[in-house]
Subunit: 162 residues, 2 copies
């Protein structure tokens, strides 16, 4: 597996994965009527944001990670990152590889820390992965996510210094 | 003082206040190169977002508050709000009146809670005001805001149920 800068051509592999996740409603805080253009702007952010993709041995895009400042101006030294991995390749370490890459990239870009704003607390594998990569839960916003199966569950705000 | 829905015409009173605050860099997490159009879209959000203004006895706009979902989709039941008050009217209770109004409005709009993502911890008057209106500090993101005088200070994430 290779991780490289995303190009415009990669979007066609990302959008179907993202649409499926939005409809499932178990992970992302996106509106269901998010347009493809809005999604592209979110996942392929303008500089200083950046996007990288994970590519398998056949050259297929199997995941994406996006880094951007979590807030602007005087708070732009804290990075935020988002991740999306093809569920057919779940359990293959793609998310971990993207996570490790993104931490290195954010450090190289001069960010001082990374913050996730909305990690669904019942996504226990994701939470465990981020913990293993050095993130702590700063707070859990109670009942902040309406999960289709679990009902109202908390959203973790996770953080680590770089 | 009256609080009413904002109209497009109110923007001309808001933008100079906002520009001054952005340059001062003590409150908002906006980039300095934020354009007027971007600012307008942020402060006059699309539905279900809404903006209200505080108007003095002479009809002058002296403050604005904006409500929007803090995240989208399955997390859209938590509101976020932003406030801007003319510093020449600081200490007149405008921010408190806007805060109380916004809480009532968000409750009427069906939100279940309100969350602030970035309250500068050294803005002690603002923090005290939000506490007095029922907000708690869920977490403080360390050194997340580069204040021009105080250096790196924390950003409070504040929250209250509605």
């Amino acid at each position: 597996m290779l991780i490289r800068e995303a190009t415009r051509d990669d979007w066609s592999a990302i959008w179907p994965l993202l649409e499926r996740d939005i409809v499932a409603g178990e992970t992302f805080c996106f509106d269901r009527d998010l347009t493809e253009d809005q999604a592209r702007q979110t996942w392929f952010p303008q500089l200083p944001g950046r996007a990288v993709v994970a590519v398998d041995d056949q050259g297929a895009v199997v995941g994406i990670a996006t880094i951007r400042p979590n807030h602007g101006g005087p708070a732009a030294h804290i990075a935020n990152a988002s991740f999306l991995v093809d569920p057919e390749h779940a359990g293959c370490g793609i998310r971990r590889a993207l996570g490790a890459h993104v931490l290195d990239q954010a450090r190289a870009d001069g960010y001082r820390a990374m913050q996730f704003n909305a990690v669904v607390e019942t996504s226990t594998r994701a939470v465990a992965l981020w913990r293993s990569l050095g993130f702590d839960v700063l707070a859990t916003v109670p009942e902040a996510f309406h999960h289709p199966v679990d009902g109202y569950v908390g959203l973790h705000i996770m953080y680590r210094r770089l």
